[in-house]
C-alpha cells in the first residue's frame, strides 16, 4: 500500500460520511454560485425598478424584489462573494498568525508560552463585534473592518488549537527520537508537529469559516461591515426589517442564504473531523 491508496481510502471514507457529503455539496454549490455571480446574475444588482418593488417571488423574480425593486436572487448571489471573502480572509489571518504563534509557544514553553496564553486572554475579552466597534470608531465602517475584527478574534482561536495539539505531541516518543537524531525545535515542528496537527487545523478552519459568515452578517447588519452599494446578506436583512410587515420574503431569503451556508460548512467540518480523526470516530 502506498500514499495514494491511503489517500483514496480516506476519500472513500469521506464520501461514505453523510455529514461530509451533504456539507461538501452545499459548500460547492455556494462556491459555484459566488463564481457564477462574476459573469452572470439574473438581473443587475444596480438595476432599480420602483414600480416592481417589494414583489413576492414570481417566475420573473424567483425570490421576489426588494424595496428598490432589485432582484433578491441576484443580490444574494453577489452578496455571497462578500460573505465568503470576509470569512475566508479572516480565517487566513487567524491561521497565518495564530498557528505559528501556537506552535512556537508549544515548542518554547515557559515564559513564551505563558505570554501567549495571556495574549489569548486579552484578545478573547474583545468579541469580534467590540473590536469592530473600536475599529469603526477609528477608521470608519467598511468590509476591511469586518475582516480585521473577525481575523483578530480568530488568531487566539487557532493559536490555542495549535498549541494544545502540539503540547500533546511534544512528549511523544517519536519526537524524542527526532531530538536524539539531532533535530532542532524548528525542524521538528515542521517535520513532525505540523503534519500531525494539520487535520485539527483544517477542521477548526471550517468552523471559523462558518462563524466568520455569521459574524460578517451581524456586522453588516448593524452597519459596521461592507458599505452600499455592494450587496451583503447582513445589510439585506437590515433593510428587510423595516419592510417586515409589507414584504416578509425579503427577510426570509437573505436569512436562509446565511443559514444554508453556515449549515453546509458546519456539516463539512463535522464530517471532516469524523473522517480525519480516528479517535473521535471511534467514540461516536
Amino acid at each position: 500500500m502506498n500514499a495514494s491508496t491511503a489517500w483514496h481510502e480516506n476519500l472513500s471514507k469521506a464520501l461514505a460520511n453523510r455529514s461530509f457529503l451533504v456539507g461538501l455539496i452545499i459548500t460547492s454549490l455556494l462556491a459555484l454560485m459566488a463564481a457564477l455571480s462574476f459573469v452572470w446574475t439574473p438581473y443587475g444588482v444596480g438595476t432599480f425598478d420602483i414600480i416592481g418593488k417589494l414583489k413576492p417571488p414570481s417566475a420573473a423574480h424567483w425570490l421576489g424584489t426588494d424595496h428598490f425593486g432589485r432582484d433578491i436572487l441576484s443580490m444574494i448571489m453577489v452578496g455571497s462573494r462578500n460573505s465568503i471573502a470576509v470569512a475566508f480572509v479572516s480565517v487566513v489571518i487567524g491561521m497565518g498568525l495564530g498557528v505559528p504563534l501556537g506552535l512556537w509557544a508549544a515548542a518554547r514553553g515557559g515564559v513564551t508560552d505563558e505570554l501567549l496564553m495571556r495574549f489569548n486572554d486579552l484578545v478573547f475579552a474583545f468579541p469580534a463585534l467590540l473590536s469592530a466597534v473600536m475599529i469603526t470608531a477609528v477608521f470608519g465602517p467598511g468590509a476591511i473592518n469586518a475582516i480585521i475584527a473577525i481575523g483578530i478574534f480568530n488568531i487566539p482561536v487557532f493559536a490555542r488549537v495549535a498549541r494544545g495539539a502540539a503540547l500533546s505531541l511534544w512528549p511523544r516518543e517519536y519526537i524524542l527520537a527526532a531530538r536524539a537524531s539531532g533535530k532542532g525545535a524548528a525542524r521538528i515542528t515542521v517535520e513532525h508537529i505540523l503534519p500531525n496537527v494539520a487535520n485539527l487545523l483544517v477542521v477548526q478552519g471550517t468552523i471559523q469559516f462558518s462563524l466568520g459568515i455569521l459574524a460578517e452578517a451581524g456586522l453588516s447588519y448593524v452597519g459596521l461591515g461592507s458599505q452600499p452599494p455592494m450587496p451583503s446578506w447582513g445589510r439585506m436583512l437590515f433593510e428587510a426589517q423595516t419592510m417586515i410587515s409589507l414584504a416578509p420574503h425579503m427577510a426570509l431569503f437573505a436569512g436562509l442564504a446565511i443559514v444554508i451556508t453556515v449549515l453546509g460548512l458546519n456539516l463539512l467540518g463535522d464530517g471532516l473531523r469524523d473522517v480525519l480523526d480516528p479517535k473521535l470516530r471511534r467514540e461516536r
Binding site: D121, A137, G218, G255, V259, R284
Partner: protein
Amino acid sequence: MLSYASKRILIGIVTLLAASILVFAVLEVVPGDPARLMLGMNATEDAVRTLQEQMGLNQPLVVRYLRWLGGLLTGDLGRSYTYSVPVISLIIERVAVSLPLALISLILSTAIAIPVGLFSAARRGTFCDTVTMGVAQVGVAIPNFWFALLLVYVFAVTLRLVPAGGFPGWNTGLWPGLKSLILPSVALALPQAAILARVTRSALLDVLGEDYIRTARAKGLTHRKVLYGHALRNALIPVLTILGLQFAFLLAGTIIIENVFYLPGLGRLVFQAITQRDLIVVEGVVMVLVAAVIFVNLLVDLSYAIIDPRLRSRS
C-alpha cells in the same frame, strides 16, 4: 498561598489592565481633536485651547492614561458631550436593559441546552437523538438577528401577542418591561442553546467512554444513575468553557439584538455614540463590556475548581 483561585484573579486583573491600555491607545489614535469636536467648527482657537486645558488634553500620554484609569476605578468615565451628562450615569441607565437581557438569555439557553444534551446522550444513536441533534445542527446555523426578525414577524406583526420593539422602562412596572424582553431573549437564547446542547451531548459521550464509567457500571449502577451521578459532573467542565465563551457572544449578540428591537441598551448607546463621534462614550461602553467578559471568564475559571478537585489542590 498562591492557589489556583488567586492566580486566576491576578490574571483577570492583569488582563483588564492590558485591555484598558488597548482601548485607550486605540481611541487615542483617532484623528480629530475632541475639544474641537465638542465645541463645533465655529469655536474660537482660544475657547478650544481653554477646553483642551480643562480636559487635560495637552498633558503627556501616560499622564492622561493614568488619569483616565484613575477615573475608571472611581467610576468617573468622563462626560458625554452629546448628552452632556456623566458617561457613568448613561451606562448605568442602559445596563438596566442590557444586563437583564443577557442574563435571561443565558439562563434560558442553559435551561434548554443541558436537559436536551442529557436527553440526546442517554439515547445515543436512536431516532430521538438523530432528530434532536439535527434540529440543533440547524439551530447553530441561524443568526440570532434573523431569528429575531422571524419572531417579530410571527408574534408581533401577525399574532400581535407582544410589542415588536421598544422598551417602556422599568418604572412602568416589572411585567411591561419583561414582556418587551421576551422576544429578544428568545432570539438570543435559542441559537446559543443549540450550540450548548451539542457541546453537552458530545462532552457526555466523551465522558461515557472513560474507564471510571465502566467501574461505576460494575458496581451495579444503572445507565441513568451513571449518567447523572458520574458523567454529568465531569462533562460540565467543557460545557462551562463554552458557556464562558458564549457569554462574550451573548454580549455581542445583545448589541445587535437591541438594534432589532429598538431597546435602549448599551448596544444602541454605542452605535449612537459612534455616529456622533462621542468617543468618550464609546470608550466607556467598550471598557464596561470587556470588563464583563473578563469577569464572567474569571467566574468560569473559579467554578472549574469547584467541579474539579484536581485544580483545587494544585498549587
